[in-house]
Amino acid sequence: MTGKARLLRMILGRLVLGLLTLWLISVLIFLAVSLLPGDIAQQILGQSATPETVAALRRELGLDQPLLQRYLDWMGTLLAGDFGNSLSNGRPVADLLAARMGKTLFLAAYAAAIAVPLALFLGILSAYRRGSLFDRAVTGLTLTMISFPEFFIAYVLMLFLAVRLPFFPTIADYGSDAGLIEMLHRTFLPAMALVLVVTAHMMRMTRAAIINLMAQPYIGMARLKGIGPLRVILVHALPNALAPIINVVAVNIAWLVSGVVIVEVVFVYPGLGQLMVDSVSNRDIPVVQACCLIFAAVYILLNLLADVLAIATNPRLMHRAG
């Protein structure tokens, strides 16, 4: 089999496994949600709950059915492509998600477009200048960024770049008719907060992966061929360090899509994370479940992508011994 055929087979295999994982996650989500304290109908009705209205709502929501039956119903509609309707406003969940998804993806892409190149650049440069003042400064700075909670970074950015120096708005939401420039301007602060958090992680991994290889005999060989230090790192070390770097980038991008709840809340940005938080407090079960599934799918897909790229860039796996 050629490398490409094997890669294709591996992708198909992993997709099947990914679907299996997704199904297991759906079971977990469903169980977790059913463990939320309090009666959902009671919560929704709040002050106006009377025994009769609660019973009626329970029947309407299907909550009087056994757990397994409810799971099967949910799965049935889900497989038909229907996420159901929101409990709080009755709109289709799919529509709600679509609106929020765009915002989340925009912010994630914005942050990733800055963070990934920056992290690679800093990581390579600090590996190249290992032990120098620059290396130590970058290491110190990134460790600081990792150590602070992201809401703190978000508020510090807001304090200096929105309140003291009013360059950027504190509320990041942009209207539906905003142009790209305005969108970038409005979401600059949350994107920066995310960049600061994820760059540290990716940069440190890039640096470590490269330095790890510098003791390899083939690096010594490259030096003995008279190759300059920068080319040694870029041409001889980097291609062999790609697998761990790709992995850490994938995990961080997945986090940018699914883990940004706090930053979204701080900047009042209507993304998926905020939607999920709101839905949990409203007991809007179909929305919570849909959000969880989407986050899980993002993780699975990005990890799959990372594995495929790691294999595609490794000649040992692409070209069989022969």
Partner: protein, 536 residues
């Protein structure tokens, strides 16, 4: 003299912590001349070879002296200018080609890199040159060979490809750092022949670093013997071999002549210590790695198992220890069937078979003291405790010639390579076994140290009557200690018999080929052997 190419004066190199590696070495090399550098590990051979390129390994520094290459003092130049020499005018061939080629790039791209960067040739020219050199080095299919990645090529071919790569800029000097040490003898001879012919054709000067006298005798015009960072002596090859001046040089030579007198086979009525009958085994569902292997291990004798890497020597050992369950065939211990799987064996059966490993470094737990390392099997199998255990450990330490009072509480990190291997032996003996598998136990050691280990093993055998299965690819070791020899190839036993029979009378073509490939100190050996093969 005008043709003086490399002139090293009073070179001193030390680690950054101050431990000296080279203590004032002088070396001069003329154009087109090949100098052999020989000595045990730690002698400073590789450091000297790298210093000829104006290069020191990380953690070391040059404390004094000069390295003049073609009239320029490399050490006085800034690093950027030194780099212009490396790869272009001085090239390097490393010991492990498999680790020294970048796994991410095709061989041809690695070949053309130095010529392109040094402005020696354009890519197309350099590629054409690569095809030519690959052909000269006897590589298969030279036009397409470079398109492969390093992992797609065998070790011997990689080593030749690396020599070709070193030639890419037609350097004045090539430093060969143990280029054939990691290869099988049958592969080594081909690589040696290829290296020698290319070096001669292109009239390069070379520093040839090795610990193997016989190899250097084939390659070098002059030989310099190093020890502890100092020169022992230097002379033209023929004279150094026929009339060494220094005691140390003579002792290096003497090791090669260690032999044990032939011993009669034990009486037929006795059961062999261990018997393999038709053992076939494989890893996973792949092709069989052992095919119908039958060997009798006569009690109290040393049975050497030889063959190239991949011939199934170590797999046979794994089957005996029970780590790999054979697909079919029987193993008998003293005439009684031995369960195939490790977990079915009794404690007494486990005790009977012990192992000594190639890398004592990784086989000993660095966190334990010798008391714990050697005491563990003595306590587990012998049930010893307290004072009896202490006495047993001391007895074993004395048996391996390590002063018990001084060594018992040391850890492996405080021992030399030879001492570590001795501890490995004591640990195997502690179980009081009948059968010990020695897996390449001397191949990581220097000749003099290895000789000590072999003598120790022989003495212990006389005292305890233990049987050795001695796995090795080094035929001079076999000649030194084996009673009988088993030759393996591609997972099968192709030849076996008493040592003298195998060495002197065997007519099996593979055995002959293996024996003929073992280098001899005779300076004409390579030429003669190649000529014979050419006829045959």
């Amino acid at each position: 003299m005008t043709d003086l190419l490399l002139d090293i004066r009073n070179l001193q190199v030390a680690t950054r912590l101050g431990a000296p590696i080279l203590r004032g070495i002088d070396l001069s090399l003329h154009r087109g001349e090949v100098m052999g550098l020989i000595g045990e590990s730690g002698a400073g051979k590789s450091t000297l070879g790298l210093a000829a390129m104006g290069y020191v390994q990380e953690g070391c520094r040059i404390n004094g002296g000069a390295v003049h290459f073609d009239g320029q003092d490399l050490l006085a130049l800034p690093e950027k200018q030194r780099r212009l020499f490396r790869g272009a005018r001085i090239a390097y061939v490393a010991q492990s080609a498999a680790a020294s080629f970048n796994p991410a790039w095709r061989l041809i791209d690695q070949f053309t890199e130095a010529p392109r960067l040094h402005g020696h040739a354009r890519r197309a020219e350099s590629e054409a040159d690569a095809h030519d050199l690959y052909g000269r080095m006897g590589l298969p299919d030279p036009a397409d060979f470079g398109l492969r990645f390093p992992h797609q090529v065998s070790g011997g071919q990689l080593q030749r490809a690396m020599t070709a790569m070193a030639m890419a800029c037609r350097p004045d000097l090539i430093v060969f750092d143990e280029p054939t040490t990691a290869l099988d003898v049958t592969t080594q001879i081909e690589v040696l022949a290829a290296i020698r012919s290319v070096v001669r054709d292109l009239n390069s000067a070379a520093l040839y670093i090795t610990h193997d006298l016989a190899v250097v005798a084939q390659m070098a015009d002059r030989i310099k013997v190093l020890r502890h960072g100092e020169e022992v002596e230097e002379a033209p090859t023929g004279r150094l071999i026929s009339a060494p001046q220094k005691e140390y040089t003579r002792s290096l030579w003497a090791v090669r002549n260690l032999t044990r007198p032939a011993r009669p086979k034990p009486a037929e009525t006795n059961h062999p210590a261990l018997r393999l009958k038709g053992v076939t085994a494989s890893y996973g569902r792949k092709m069989a790695v052992l095919r119908d292997v039958s060997i009798d291990f006569a009690a109290g004798r040393t049975i050497a198992v030889v063959g190239e890497s991949g011939s199934g020597k170590s797999t046979t050992a794994r089957a005996i220890t029970g780590l790999l369950k054979p697909l079919s065939g029987d193993i008998e211990l003293r005439g009684r069937a031995l369960p195939a799987a490790l977990r079915d064996r009794t404690k007494a059966e486990l005790r009977s078979i012990q192992m000594i490993y190639q890398m004592a470094d990784t086989a000993l737990n660095p966190r334990q003291t010798l008391r714990e390392i050697i005491g563990r099997p003595a306590a587990f199998y012998g049930g010893l405790r307290g004072a009896a255990l202490d006495a047993r450990v001391r007895e074993l330490l004395a048996a391996i010639e390590l002063e018990p009072g001084q060594f018992i509480d040391r850890r492996p990190g405080e021992l030399s390579g030879g001492q570590k291997q001795r501890v490995g032996i004591a640990r195997a003996l502690a179980a009081d076994p009948e059968f010990i598998i020695c897996d390449e136990v001397t191949s990581a050691l220097d000749q003099l140290v290895a000789e000590g280990i072999l003598k120790l093993l022989m003495r212990l055998q006389e005292q305890t009557g233990v049987t050795y299965m001695f796995i090795t690819h080094d035929l001079s070791t076999v000649r030194a200690i084996a009673d009988s020899v088993v030759v393996m190839q591609k997972g099968a036993v192709v030849d076996q018999g008493s040592r003298d029979h195998i060495f002197q009378q065997s007519t099996h073509p593979y055995t002959r080929r293996l024996l003929d490939s073992v280098p001899e100190t005779d300076t004409d050996w390579l030429t003669r052997t190649l000529a014979q093969r050419g006829r045959g």
